[in-house]
């Protein structure tokens, strides 16, 4: 549709007025308290990054105590119990509170800039994720100061950990604190997927996307499939600890191996979730300093997507010594070797690009090159331990400790430092010191190798991991002393980096694009919060290099959306494959509501840890209220006009519902993660069936199955609730609002009844979940489905209220369409689960 042309951008007065409006709309809140209500990615991303780096330093200090204890044989610096807490918290904090959050943090900070977007589509969700991370992180990390930290290793193997008498409160803190953070990780994943797929600037088709965005897309999808199994495992774990449901207790039919499966289905992809985003930084840095386009763009996409897939076929290589049949080990060994192919491909692409370019050895490149060298060593030992017979020798020794630190520090920490030196000027406008940066690099590089290389030797010499000391004179004294010295040199290097960062506020501003890079993020100006002055038209992977006058045209607002005449925060929503502009999306400004939701939800997890049931329930009610308040007041706002001119004669709608809108995508993605969690519980059901010769066990009091009547009744009611929701969506769209509301009432009633009928099955047959694992897993599945019915009812009543309040109309029906998506997933999950517990295995009846 054509519309009047842009106001004349040649007029400096017009431009200044636009800039003033944009500046006002995107202004951060000020004041000691109010500043924390900011939701813009430039603020939340910085807080997130600094908090994650704080966690890195904290966990690093724990590691220094560990190394000090191990420096000499028979040392008694710390007790065995403290030592257990130290290494458990070191691993836990590094993996859950540094490595994953730093990916989310850096992506929230960089992704909008890389895509020439003003922000991500759900800024308040980012803020919610950040506050969840802070609360959960402080809760878990702080436990060591109360001698209450988890102490069973970062993978918390039952059965020892499920026995409250043996572990104290630490295991609960681990489970509940981290579950809360996992929710934040999934929230970030949703945000980032929708950001990459729907918020690209016009012209940036899939083949022009910055490689960082490709990696973010792959990693965020991996989070959707990797984290839910762990959340499901956490649920089972806590039910065993709190209510004595015997999921991992072999004496009552449980099996500790199920935890290992669920943990490592998360845990191995996790390694790649950490590694790929760091390599992605490298994919941005290498072309800049090779002064040329990256060679083999599709090969990097192959590597990212291929690694993402294959990483889900590796988990059993952590379980090679659990006595599984050799053919099973063979499959996982094969996949573990195969994943070396895409991993190596990306390294060769980087080498080829450097080879073909004219390399500038700037500080970020130094970190990058060091990272590659270290990572390749870790990769090679990885190929070794992927061979089952070798692993049987090396399992649980310091060889594995050496391997994993080479992989994680070479594959994640050093590339992140490269990214830190590279992107610091983009965020602050000031370069870091090259002199300090290079000195720090050499301390880190040398210190790292001195610390971790000897661990290969002590491991092959038989030193098991996680021992708090070792006897003198068995060949471990020297390698351990050398490792400890190296660890402190490495720490000194990190300290130099921190000094460099601390000196930054006193330095003068530098140039805007100090590395002369070619990608969109260098359009940013650290003193402006609007992200981009105007949303650019992209014709190349390196528009700053290839499109003449690009920066000037951007700065003068000659691209799209150069103004904020209605005083709203706006961004362009575009199509998935070809980035055709579809919609102007309006996003929220500063608000305290996400923080409130995070605090109250955090209360649920924290009070539950201490068995304070009444405060926990109250906190849950407050969390629900906070979320509803947030949704009601801040989302799905009916715009004041249907269309808007965004420049160059382009008119775009201000609203859409269904597959064009980001909200619909977010719901589909959320429910994909939710379905993965349910699939993990169903996997548990089948797992128990395979390990027991007779499952369900012979009928006895407390072991009678849920029967067929109630599950099938529930199934019919779910189908009714689903169909009535769809009918409400369709009648509403046909402007028969009264019928739509009646359908919603029916849907809510049917869904309530369905939830109750699901629970009636195991309840009426007297299934006792503490007697055996069969009743326990049936109860968990039933409660899972019933809880989803309850959430569904809240949603149905919510859209009914929105309709009654005039906030949901036949045109502005996004909420109702999203509820319909939710009900698709719930009805499907209910059908699967209810059929399973009613009919499988047949012999049960």
């Amino acid at each position: 549709m054509r519309a009047p042309a842009l106001p004349d951008q040649d007029d400096p007065g017009v431009r200044a007025a636009q800039e003033a409006r944009l500046r006002q709309v995107w202004a951060p809140p000020r004041g000691i308290f109010l500043r924390w209500t900011d939701v813009n990615n430039t603020a939340v991303g910085v807080w997130y990054t600094l908090t994650a780096v704080g966690m890195l330093v904290f966990a690093g200090c724990l590691a220094l105590v560990v190394r000090a204890q191990l420096a000499f044989p028979g040392n008694d610096l710390v007790s065995a119990s403290t030592f257990n807490q130290l290494f458990t918290l070191h691993g836990t904090v590094m993996m859950f509170l540094f490595a994953v959050p730093i990916f989310e943090a850096v992506s929230i900070l960089l992704l909008p800039q890389l895509l020439g977007a003003r922000d991500l589509p759900f800024p308040r969700l980012s803020a919610f994720g950040y506050w969840s991370f802070v609360i959960g992180g402080v809760f878990v990390a702080g436990s060591i100061f109360f001698d209450a930290a988890p102490d069973a290793g970062w993978f918390m193997y039952p059965p020892l950990t499920t026995e409250p008498a043996l572990t104290g409160i630490g295991a609960d803190i681990w489970m509940l604190g981290l579950s809360f953070i996992e929710v934040a990780a999934i929230a970030a994943a949703i945000e980032l997927i929708v950001g990459v797929l729907k918020c690209r600037p016009p012209g940036m088709r899939l083949n022009l996307m910055p490689l960082y965005a490709w990696y973010v897309l792959v990693v965020a999808v991996m989070i959707l499939f990797a984290f839910p199994p762990l959340i499901a495992g956490d649920v089972l774990f806590e039910l065993e600890r709190m209510l004595d449901w015997p999921f991992f207790d072999a004496s009552r039919g449980g099996d500790p191996l199920l935890w290992q499966h669920l943990f490592w289905i998360f845990g191995h992809p996790e390694v790649y979730i950490i590694f790929l985003p760091s390599v992605a930084l490298f994919a941005m840095i290498v072309p800049t300093f090779a002064r040329r386009h990256l060679i083999g763009y599709p090969w990097i996409v192959l590597a990212a997507v291929g690694t993402g897939f294959l990483s889900f076929g590796l988990w059993v290589h952590h379980m090679f010594t659990t006595g599984l049949p050799s053919i099973s080990l063979g499959f996982f060994s094969a996949a573990s070797e195969a994943v070396a192919i895409p991993t190596a491909v990306q390294i060769f692409v980087f080498i080829a690009t450097l080879w073909a370019g004219r390399v500038v050895w700037a500080t970020p490149m130094l970190y990058g090159a060091g990272a590659l060298a270290i990572f390749v060593v870790g990769g090679l030992t990885g190929v070794m331990v992927a061979v089952a017979p070798f692993d049987w020798q090396a399992h649980d020794t310091y060889f594995v400790v050496a391997h994993l630190h080479y992989v994680l520090i070479g594959g994640a920490v050093l590339p992140l430092f490269a990214g830190l030196y590279y992107y610091w000027p983009m965020v602050t406008g000031k370069k870091l010191s090259d002199r300090l940066g290079r000195a720090a690099f050499w301390l880190i590089f040398v210190g790292f190798n001195v610390a971790f290389f000897p661990m290969h030797i002590s491991g092959l010499g038989g030193m098991p991991r996680r021992v708090f000391t070792y006897p003198e004179g068995i060949g471990l004294d020297l390698p351990n002393l050398v490792s400890s010295i190296g660890a402190f040199v490495l720490a000194l290097g990190i300290a130099v980096v921190l000094v460099d960062l601390a000196m930054s506020p006193r330095r003068a501003r530098g140039s805007r694009n100090p590395w002369a890079a070619g990608t969109l993020e260098w359009l940013a100006r650290p003193d402006e919060h609007w992200g981009v002055r105007s949303v650019p038209l992209v014709e190349s992977r390196y528009p700053l290099w290839d499109q003449p006058g690009f920066v000037e045209r951007h700065d003068e607002g000659r691209f799209l959306l150069p103004d904020a005449e209605e005083g709203k925060r706006e961004l362009l929503i575009s199509s998935v494959l070809d980035a055709k502009p579809l919609l102007v999306g309006r996003i929220g400004g500063p608000t305290v509501k996400p923080m409130l939701a995070a605090v109250t939800l955090g209360g649920v997890f924290i009070f539950t840890t201490f068995h304070l049931w009444i405060p926990a329930v109250m906190s849950a009610a407050l969390a629900l209220a906070a979320i509803l308040w947030w949704l009601w007041t801040e989302t799905s706002i009916v715009p004041e006009k249907p269309m808007k001119h965004v420049g160059h004669g382009v008119m775009l709608p201000l609203h859409s519902s269904g597959p064009v809108s980001p909200g619909w995508w977010a719901m589909v993605i959320t429910m994909t993660a939710d379905a993965t969690a349910l699939a993990s519980l169903v996997f548990g059901y089948f797992f128990y069936w395979t390990v027991h010769p007779e499952f369900p066990p012979a009928a006895a009091p407390g072991l009678e199955g849920p029967g067929r009547f109630w599950p099938m009744t529930a199934l019919v009611l779910f189908a009714l609730g689903w169909a009535a929701t769809i009918a409400a969506r369709e009648t509403n769209a046909l402007e028969r609002v009264g019928s739509a509301r009646a359908c919603l009432v029916l849907a809510a009633a049917a869904t309530v009844a369905a939830g109750l009928a699901v629970l009636a099955g195991p309840s009426s047959s007297g299934l006792d979940p503490t007697v055996h694992v069969y009743p326990a897993i049936v109860w968990v599945l039933a409660i899972w489905i019933a809880a989803h019915a309850a959430i569904g009812v809240v949603m149905q009543v919510y859209v009914l209220a929105r309709s009654a309040a005039g906030r949901l109309t036949p045109v502005y029906d996004g909420d109702l369409r999203n509820v319909a998506v939710y009900m698709h997933f719930v009805a499907f999950g209910a059908a699967l689960t209810l059929a399973l517990i009613a009919f499988f295995p047949e012999r049960a009846r």
Binding site: L206, N207, P298, P325, S326, I341
Partner: protein
């Protein structure tokens, strides 16, 4: 053959096509693992694997055929006639070529990974 080639070239390219080859790998991998795990759990540690190996052989043939078909379509689509390389522009053709090339590469990787997965079935004879 050339009719097939032209039909392949005209197929719509999507992100789903890109992830099809590795999805076939995942399905094949899961099938092999689940089949062997259930069989060995139910039949005991000394049970011979003849039936499982036959099943894996069949699944491997099907999976490889699927990956080859996806790879063929991608190969045909990556050869859409048009401007000379490099195909790095913001055009319909270059986006289609890019997706096709990436799909072809993923098909090659998936082929190798499926063969890798099937190899243990060649040498392991029972559930020990």
């Amino acid at each position: 053959m050339s009719a097939l080639y032209e039909r392949a070239q005209r197929m719509r390219s999507t992100l789903w096509a890109l992830v099809l080859p590795p999805t076939i790998w995942a399905a094949h991998f899961l099938f092999c693992y689940v089949l062997a795990a259930i069989y060995c759990a139910k039949a005991g540690a000394l049970a011979p694997l003849a039936a499982v190996r036959a099943g894996i052989g069949l699944a491997t043939a099907v999976a490889l055929a699927g990956v080859l078909a996806a790879g063929y379509v991608a190969w045909a689509k990556s050869r859409i006639p048009g401007a000379p390389p490099p195909h790095d522009d913001s055009t319909d053709e270059d986006r289609a070529r890019f997706l096709a090339t990436a799909t072809l590469l993923l098909a090659a990787l998936s082929f190798v990974a499926i063969v890798f997965t099937a190899l243990p079935a060649l040498v392991i004879e029972d559930c020990r």
